[in-house]
Symmetry: C2
């Protein structure tokens, strides 16, 4: 308590001191010649921010250190907790060291042309990976790489989805031949699935691979404009090879979609005969990636280029199955990618929170005593002290913690699945659950992250619109993840299908395990939704009980899934076609699935909190859990579950928890442990020297490299009144009293 008072007193004293110094600066500025005159390339950062405002200092250097003094928990312990242990932190630090930019370069990309982006992306990616030459990364290491270096660039495709397809779909021989060549950049590759007219509905692809018995080859064609390969990264300019998704046609018969490997550029990096390649054009972000197109005209590849882990055409020209497994195993690559994207969603949102919360502590606006007559030299409020700003940012902070921990859980699930079940019998069952979970979570987590990052960005006001803020580029470069690898709507509907099936099998007497276990209650004796309701809270304190919150989220998932299942079955029972009833119920299915995924995220969050052995950490994490749950109840239309009275209680809880979290705000983002060179942000710097940094970056603007601007002579000068301009700021004659 006494510490708190001291901090407040310190703050007031500090403010008064700063105002006094500004006053003196103002007096000086009217008499002395500035050190800035005519010096347009001053490096403001080298001049160092100090705690007093001056011509070279924003006067904000003391703010974040003061904030850090208020922390109620040990930041280092929290860092280890979030990374999964001290050893993991060490490993992450190692990767971070190799992969991040030099601190002085953090804003250079903001002035890049598209060509610069592509070139620099290739250079960076190869140089980093050459440093990792003798390092065999785990799934978690790869995740650390992804979270540290965003954008990624073109070759990211080669090392991830291209390579993973070879490993996932290729025979052992094919893996051995192609795999090492990819890893050492002897070849570079693209994942050529989508087409100009065809997206994630794989079965609709029109590219054909016609087997020619005479030559023992496939003839590859994109026979229509709509079938041009469209959007694969690394396809347009950088890739020498690709894995191609095409309809296999044998003896005039459709055999369905198969995957092939093929070379697309020769040793001079020119497209091979019959192949037209190019980039699809500039995008909102991710511009280091040569998202490409490809036209194929009677391109021939040998029979052995079909990836043949599961099926092949044998030496006798017969189509045959090689390995008999559940067809969904083919999707393990996709599931892994989606799982990785869940992890990345938490990382990106955490980065956005770091920038926005630090900036909101540094940025001041509005007077403490908001009355007319107050001098402009009076200290203004930290914008982080406005409750609306707190609500928006702390909500996202809680989301970020939730998503980070979900990501860790998801990566573990995938790793366990891979190591426990390859070759064993229980594969299929676990696979369905993990496929559905990863689809639903990918959908919801990218949605939460995209929305949250953008709201954090808006919380940064005008400066959040500048590329140098870092949060704008983060938002733009991340945006595509909500659409790629399965649009979020489509993926959630996949999960919805799984959930309806689960309900059907419970009704059929089956017992469910894992994340859908809560559905078993439906078939219990005397079940009704009303009876399952955990009851209304009697006071706002109940909304701080984690188990109660989990019960509520579980109930919402149960309620909405049962309701939509009933509705759907009724429609089908009345003779409606499956697809039509499905379409009719789609909005409710979506909401039911989100409720399910929210329940998974929340219950995992609660479990993780209970794992920590540090009381201070448990305390602050508990507050985040409460905020995560309660802001959802307020913003996500729980009108079907809770009544008006409950909303009032929840509001009260949120208000209390926000006040409790305020002193920890900066330490909670410090605990994400993203160094400045990773955030690449002028306004989210660790030291809080925001204004020095913004101004420094501005001077490097591409427009400031020439003056007058290009186009001045041709387009502006002819219209200007040069005679008037010659006079400068002198009273105008003959209008003396103007």
């Amino acid at each position: 308590m006494s510490t708190k008072v001291n901090i407040t007193e310190n703050r007031i004293e500090g403010a008064l001191k700063r105002i006094e110094v500004v006053r003196n600066q103002l007096k000086q500025s009217q008499t002395s010649v500035s050190e800035l005159s005519g010096n347009k390339t001053t490096n403001y950062l080298q001049l160092q921010g100090s705690e007093t405002q001056s011509k070279t200092s924003g006067g904000t250097a003391g703010i974040l250190p003061r904030e850090r003094q208020k922390s109620t928990f040990n930041v280092e312990a929290m860092i280890h907790f979030l990374n999964g242990g001290k050893e993991m932190t060490k490993r992450r630090k190692f990767i971070e060291k190799v992969i991040s930019e030099k601190p002085e370069d953090i804003t250079k990309k903001n002035n890049f042309t598209r060509e610069d982006y592509l070139k620099e992306g290739v250079r960076e990616f190869i140089s980093y990976h050459k440093s990792f030459a003798n390092f065999r990364p785990t799934r978690k290491d790869i995740f650390f790489m992804s979270e540290t270096s965003y954008g990624g660039g073109s070759l990211n495709n080669s090392h991830s989805i291209f390579l993973m397809t070879i490993v996932g779909q290729g025979s052992e021989e094919q893996q051995k031949f192609w795999g090492p060549k990819v890893l050492s950049f002897q070849i570079t590759g693209s994942y050529a699935q989508t087409e100009l007219g065809h997206g994630s509905n794989v079965r609709g692809l029109q590219t054909t691979a016609t087997y020619d018995r005479k030559t023992d080859e496939f003839i590859l064609n994109t026979p229509t404009l709509q079938s041009i390969k469209w959007w694969p990264g690394c396809l347009g300019k950088v890739g020498t090879h690709c894995v191609l998704y095409a309809q296999l046609i044998m003896d005039g018969q459709e055999k369905g979609i198969h995957v092939f490997i093929m070379q697309i550029r020769d040793e001079h990096h020119h497209p091979l005969k019959g192949i037209t390649l190019g980039d699809v054009g500039n995008k909102m972000g991710d511009n280091g990636n040569d998202t490409g197109f490809m036209i194929l005209e009677k391109v021939r590849i040998p029979r052995s280029y079909m990836l043949q882990k599961y099926v092949r055409i044998n030496d006798e020209g017969k189509y045959e199955q090689v390995l008999k497994v559940d067809s969904k195993v083919h999707y393990f690559t996709m599931m892994s990618t989606r799982g990785m994207m869940v992890g990345v969603s938490g990382a990106r949102l955490a980065q956005a929170c770091t920038i926005a919360i630090r900036y909101s502590a540094v940025r001041h606006q509005g007077f403490v005593d908001n009355k007319p007559g107050v001098s402009y030299l009076t200290d203004e409020n930290q914008i982080l002290d406005y409750k609306i700003q707190q609500y928006r940012l702390f909500k996202q902070l809680a989301n970020a913690y939730a998503l980070k921990l979900t990501g860790i859980w998801m990566l573990n699930e995938l790793t366990n699945f891979e190591s426990n079940t390859v070759g064993s019998a229980i594969k299929t069952e676990g696979l369905k659950e993990i496929a559905s979970t990863s689809a639903g979570l990918k959908s919801l987590c990218t949605l939460i992250a995209v929305t949250g990052i953008e709201d954090c960005r808006k919380c940064c006001g005008g400066n959040g619109y500048l590329l140098s803020s870092g949060i704008s580029t983060l938002s733009l470069d991340y945006l595509w993840q909500i659409t790629a690898e399965g649009d979020y709507i489509i993926l959630s509907l996949l999960t919805a299908r799984y959930l309806l099936k689960c309900i059907a099998s419970v009704m059929g007497g089956k017992h469910l395990n894992g994340v859908v276990e809560y559905l078993n209650i439906i078939s219990s004796d005397g079940f009704s939704l009303e009876k399952a309701f955990p009851g209304n809270a009697k006071n706002s304190v109940e909304y701080t009980h984690l188990d109660y919150l989990v019960e509520l989220f579980k109930y919402r998932a149960l309620y909405r899934n049962v309701m939509v299942a009933q509705d759907f079955n009724e429609q089908v029972g009345n003779g409606m076609k499956f697809e039509e009833a499905w379409n009719n119920c789609a909005n409710d299915l979506l909401s039911a699935t989100y409720s399910h995924s929210y329940y998974i995220i929340l219950s995992n969050f609660v479990n993780k909190v209970k794992e920590s052995k540090h009381d201070d950490i448990v305390k602050v994490l508990t507050r985040l859990v409460i905020l995560f749950a309660c802001t959802n109840m307020l913003d996500d239309n729980w009108g079907d579950i809770l009544n008006n009275n409950q909303f009032k209680l929840i509001n009260q809880t949120v208000s209390n928890v926000m006040s409790e979290l305020r002193p920890d705000a900066i330490s909670l983002v410090d605990s994400f442990d993203y160094p400045d060179k990773c955030l690449k942000s002028t306004i989210g710097r660790y030291d809080g020297n925001v204004y020095e940094s913004l101004f420094d970056a501005a001077q490097k603007s591409v427009l400031n490299q020439t003056d007058p601007f290009d186009g001045y002579k041709e387009y502006l000068r002819p219209h200007l009144n040069l005679e008037l301009l010659k006079r400068g700021n002198k009273p105008i004659q003959p209008t003396p009293k103007l």
Copy 2:
């Protein structure tokens, strides 16, 4: 009814025909030499889209014409309705003709560098306005200009906010001297208000203008890093002048913020002595604008450069008031700007809807009969037929109609206010209402538009991320409007303050008029919120009654404002400081204000619908009103007003109305009447030839102008296995069975 059946039959027949043609194309493509080989610059658009898929046609040309046949209303009549009459349509067409790009150039800007953007912006703006030389635009004309040409570029600032400040704050002499020079581009100007450390809190600005009695001049300074002028458009590179907001200091006394005009660049377009100018750096969008910074060091301007409509320093050096009016009149410029932004919000959302809805009709994904074994040549579903897509897009369509009509109403209010009350006595009263209304509506409408545009963009999947889609650039170039001219949160809290005052004055016995009239009920005998509730609906049909919907929205506004007023008063009554209580209630204040603004929008929407004399138009507009209201009830947490049962009824209403609207979807966006050259979209074209257009734009990508890409030799080639690449797609030796 029979027409409907015919259309369905036609559609099926058309689909079968198209499939047959694709089948033939596929056969041909395997035997004939393609006309495309080696021809990388084919103009696919010149080849014209046809109704059958081929190597040069996407086969989508018939889709939108078929959709248009289904329309239930006269599109031309709707166009006139939205423009405010036939004459207005004519006027808009005239402006559009001058101001829009040539159709062949619509995607060129997607490959622009920042320098190109700036240059082209200046060229365009001057050339358009030279064409309007003898044209005196009304407020509505200016609105038509804004809605037609987005981006606007640097000089937009000169002709709008710079000029408006001279007119609004300058004496008659000053207006006469500077005004015509701005209009004819003899000078160009910027509105220099915000600073590096200070945003919309005008009183906190630190730039000083110290009056020097000896020379009868002002000495201008930006004494600290935080006080550097930051963000004004047209300041960095293009402007020769600016209006400067600065603290006036006379004889050591602070006189508060005053506005000055000053020259910043000389006849060679170099900054004047003591002035440092530059651009603040690249942004997410709006990159034709040289958003700038300015350092001032002892810059002297004559006394007559202070804008002196209301106050001045007279010839005796005495500070005096010239015109005595309510201080809020100063803000009329800002109010007009905000009013204009309300209008633009509707326009931009309408443009986004046009692109997304046309694309969703053209784009197909997912099979009609979703079962394994279906051939890839089977016709897929229009994505517009998925209920989730409909919900998202039709909701925004309804929002766009609502916002467009709100914009018209707002512009009329401003025009009426201006013409009726200048110099009259009732000024102050009307002013407060219009100031509060324009602030609240600017906040809500830009929020609806920003969110809506971005959701429309997401509905376009991957292609919506491409700049050539037009909807991505629309989203990015529009985004800043939610922050500029008053951040949306701050503005809504301004309105909240006005509403609390209204409630207080009702309680004090005053009668309110205009948009706040509904609050009078509070002081009526025996008033209670429960009694004021319009009652629950008994069936879903009641949610199609416009008057009932208006009553519900009015009630929500009443309920939330009364609740927050009570809460606030209680806190203040318990001894809490005004600002602290205000901060505590901020979230609820925001929600109360939005409810108020939503009520204004809805009731205006309903009034406008009743004005139309065409039955078919009234019918379709009524459906949009219902959807506007009902989607808000579903998505905006009405749990405090409505119970679970009501949500079910509303869902049913929404589902019915969506089906009713489906045949009109394309005609409803056609009625916004934005030509292709204004939309600048490959995927939102009037003719629906989406794939030809996308591919055409892709070929122009800046990356496709060189091959191999810049950087290939230095960074990629050294790592590639050139020996392997020389072999091309041949079986690998010595691994024959690979």
